[in-house]
């Protein structure tokens, strides 16, 4: 038996197909995964993401600590509630995890890290935090529901009531504590929406209320197709401790400016830049029929050249799409080895889909 979120019984009662996900028993779908995907692109859907781990970091030197710990720079966060996406690197510049950090106030930041990396993340953060006298508190008392889609925000507020009304004024990538909930305008689908952190005792009732308001129950299967269409990396697939963010399509999340800021992994990333990067992350669109999957080899001019890190059938585009790590010179048309057959794919810039609309030419 795996770990269970406070919504486990709710999922089972709803007929969800439960699978192991990083040690957690999680719903992969409740019925049609494609219908769940479309619900998020066209209306509103919700995901139990309580397996993800919220951490509260407190102490007068928390900002200084996070400027050292993270590759992105929390000095960019100037307004209470503002969020930042960042990688947390090791000294070699490999990615320990990717995460979201919220600036609550000057001596309090909140982080949400991945479920599968939870234990090593906490150990690493606590080890680094000692020198800064920062306290790291694991918020296992909280559950989290991501509600995503063009109608997600209005439906959430209509259900949660008056105290949360001002959530509609939240800017993108910002959060606030409202009526006992922490509500943030963030997500992992390429659609607008909220991620709601709430006491785990309340989450089953809130889930039922959301469902009654017409928010579709969605599993991790749809979450994966949505994030891949949105061109968002998945830790463990698209990057890990052996990969640099610079070769994972995440250079935009590394703040080299200001140059005087030292952060863990900086020296290694600068050395990689001086030596020249050899690989890059690209989007692929399959021109032939079939489905791209992770670890399928990419072939450029007859030679093996990297592999797919995440691939799927895109329900929105009705074509197969992927992220792949290939040599920096690769461009245009490539082949992908699918069970010994070499099928034609085209390198495209991603995201593939945002806010319900295709971002690439088919």
């Amino acid at each position: 038996m795996g770990l269970r979120t406070p919504l486990y019984d709710t999922h089972v009662a709803a007929g969800a197909r439960m699978v192991d996900f990083g040690g957690w028993d999680m719903p992969v779908n409740y019925g049609s995964q494609i219908d769940e995907h479309h619900a998020v692109r066209r209306d509103a859907g919700m995901f139990d993401v309580s397996h993800m781990c919220a951490l509260d970091l407190t102490g007068s030197r928390t900002r200084e600590f996070l400027r050292y710990l993270l590759a992105n720079d929390v000095a960019k966060l100037k307004t209470a509630g503002k969020a930042l996406y960042s990688c947390m690197l090791n000294e070699q510049g490999g990615v320990i995890d990717d995460l979201i950090v919220y600036y609550m106030h000057d001596s309090w930041f909140r982080m949400v890290v991945n479920a599968g990396t939870r234990d090593k993340d906490i150990a690493w953060i606590r080890q680094q935090a000692i020198a800064f006298s920062v306290e790291v508190k694991v918020r296992d008392d909280l559950a989290m529901i991501a509600v995503q889609g063009p109608n997600a925000r209005s439906k959430v507020v209509s259900v949660l009531g008056e105290a949360t009304q001002s959530a509609l004024e939240l800017k993108i990538f910002s959060g606030a504590e409202l009526g006992g909930y922490f509500i943030a305008r963030t997500g992992y689908t390429g659609e607008d929406g909220f991620e709601v952190l709430l006491p785990k005792e309340d989450v089953a009732q809130t889930w039922r209320t959301f469902h009654a308001a017409g928010i579709a129950q969605c599993g991790l299967g749809a979450r994966d197709t949505l994030r891949l269409e949105a061109g968002m990396n998945l830790y463990g697939n698209d990057m890990d401790e052996a990969q640099s963010p610079l070769e994972s399509g995440l250079a935009w999340t590394v703040a080299f400016e200001p140059t005087e800021r030292n952060f863990i992994g900086r020296a290694s990333l600068e050395a990689q830049q001086r030596a020249g990067l050899s690989r890059k992350m690209v989007g692929l669109l399959l021109e032939d029929r079939g489905v791209l999957r992770s670890h399928q080899p990419v072939i450029v001019e007859g030679q093996p050249n990297g592999e797919i890190t995440s691939g799927t059938f895109s329900p929105t585009l009705e074509r197969s799409i992927a992220l792949a790590r290939v040599s920096v010179a690769a461009q245009g048309s490539v082949k992908v080895d699918i069970r010994g057959k070499h099928l034609v794919a085209r390198i495209v810039s991603y995201p593939f889909v945002r806010n319900g609309k295709a971002c690439i030419e088919l």
Partner: protein, 130 residues
């Protein structure tokens, strides 16, 4: 609960077989299999005329989640494949024992049919998987 028609034969790898009046076989995947795979989006079918051995992978069915091989229940020659699955692989989800059939096969050794599972034996396989 998955549907397991009593008049079909099965493999423990979740294929079904119907013996047609002319002695040929129709083969597909079970309701349990389509449900476990989820929404099907791509089917790779064999060439007509191909000679298959019992237990040989003859097709690949891909859902949004994963790709899965489909195995031939007995040895024989492929007589026909379901061309509708090219454009509408979801027929397998909608009617796994009907319009979602995968291929028709002419068996070369009808004694192999006796090794297939009947509905109650296949039900036990499905129950054991839960």
């Amino acid at each position: 609960m998955s549907n397991i028609p009593a008049d079909l034969k099965y493999l423990s790898s979740h294929e079904w077989v119907r013996v047609d009046e002319d002695g040929s076989l129709t083969v597909g995947i079970s309701d349990h299999a389509q449900s476990a795979l989820g929404d099907l989006v791509f089917v790779e079918t064999p060439d007509v005329g191909r000679q298959l051995k019992a237990g040989e992978a003859f097709a690949v069915v891909e859902s949004v989640k994963a790709a899965s091989d489909v195995y031939s229940p007995v040895s024989g020659e492929v007589l026909a494949v379901n061309e509708s699955l090219v454009a509408t692989p979801e027929l397998i989800n909608q009617a796994p024992y009907g319009e979602g059939w995968l291929m028709k096969l002419r068996p070369s050794d009808s004694s192999e049919l006796s090794k297939l599972l009947d509905a109650s034996a296949y039900q036990a396989v499905v129950d054991a998987a839960h």
